[in-house]
Assembly symmetry: C2
Homo-oligomer: 216 residues x 2
């Protein structure tokens, strides 16, 4: 089953971290089983989608019993490599970057920001949420163990910094700038454009007035 | 054609603001036509997807010519109701909220944060990015013209504030807290969980090493 992991549809893959987090909370609360209906209510994904997703993992719920929390959790932990920590660099310590440092993914996560960079000398040397801010000129000196970067720099700097990250061996970028950055095919970029997210919400409010879709 | 708007697949609908923004930039630069290849390179959506999306809008590209920028722009402007402004309230002026106020969706957008709220009295009365911060106790007094709220409050406050927003007549919420909030079916919530986005990026890096998917 694990060898077929790469066959999981990408839409399903996108929901894995969400499932993992919720099941881990249930486990902490001492719950041993959960129905697709309960899951659906909690994470706002319709239960048919949850059942289809879980069937890809070989997890088949039993009628009147639901799913075994520990089995699912074990599966998700392996799949998401929860035991393996992924160190992350934050580039750009403005308001958004500072929010990331203070938040810093402490719960149920295998990702942690280990280092931050900014071009503003007044910020360099500061510690925010336990993470020290380094000068952007030193970027290449500190990335040897880092594979992921969160990009929260001004638009005008986005491509230049991206090129430096790629040259330094980064393989994934979470891009929070409005810039659409260009990278080689071997680098994965996920792009979250806050303006587009807001505009999309407004569009859906007008055209799909009822919440009857899958989680998007 | 416009009457079939609600038939546009949701995945396509999600890309509309992205198309709109890019085409508007082209228009400002004086370009009158664009190929699906150029669009694809710029916004990182594969060209087959773009052609399929555009066919839903009745826009058929001509070989060797591409698409007419002005026609598309006129269509998107109508579809996204660009001429109609949607006022937005920001709830929670922490680092993330402050980032939103400074950014404030000024370019190519029909959405604008008009008012902000926080529980911290030291922030009340301040003006950030031209927007005044009001006390959260006054929430219900200022929402009569507002239909959309951005939620950047602590997790512990998320559901309580959501209930108040719903009672005050808000119909859409962009939820940036890790909390999965509960609302009536008539309220649309889009949820952006930063930890889940990061975990998802790491998962995709490990399991889909090449960037051969659609824009996600």
């Amino acid at each position: 089953m694990m060898s077929n992991q790469h066959k999981i549809p990408q839409a399903t893959a996108k929901r894995l971290p969400l499932y993992y987090r919720f099941l881990n909370n249930l486990h902490i609360q001492g719950k041993s089983r959960v129905s697709s209906k309960e899951l659906s209510d909690a994470i706002k994904v319709d239960s048919a989608t949850i059942r289809r997703d879980f069937s890809y993992f070989g997890a088949l719920g039993k009628k009147g019993y639901g799913y075994n929390v520990e089995y699912l959790l074990g599966f998700f932990r392996k799949t998401l490599d929860q035991d393996e920590n992924t160190p992350v660099a934050l580039i750009g310590v403005g308001n958004l970057g500072t929010a990331f440092l203070n938040y810093n993914f402490t719960k149920n996560n295998n990702t942690k920001i280990e280092i931050a960079f900014d071009a503003d000398k007044r910020k360099v040397g500061n510690t925010i949420g336990d993470i020290q801010v380094h000068h952007i000129d030193e970027l290449e000196d500190h990335l040897d163990k880092i594979s992921v970067a969160i990009l929260t720099v001004p638009v005008s700097e986005a491509q230049n910094i991206t090129d430096r990250l790629v040259d330094a061996g980064i393989s994934g970028i979470l891009n929070f700038t409005p810039a659409r950055i260009t990278v080689p095919d071997s680098i994965r970029v996920h792009h979250i454009d806050l303006a587009v997210e807001l505009q999309s919400l407004v569009y859906f409010m007008k055209h799909y007035p009822l919440n009857d879709d899958e989680d998007i």
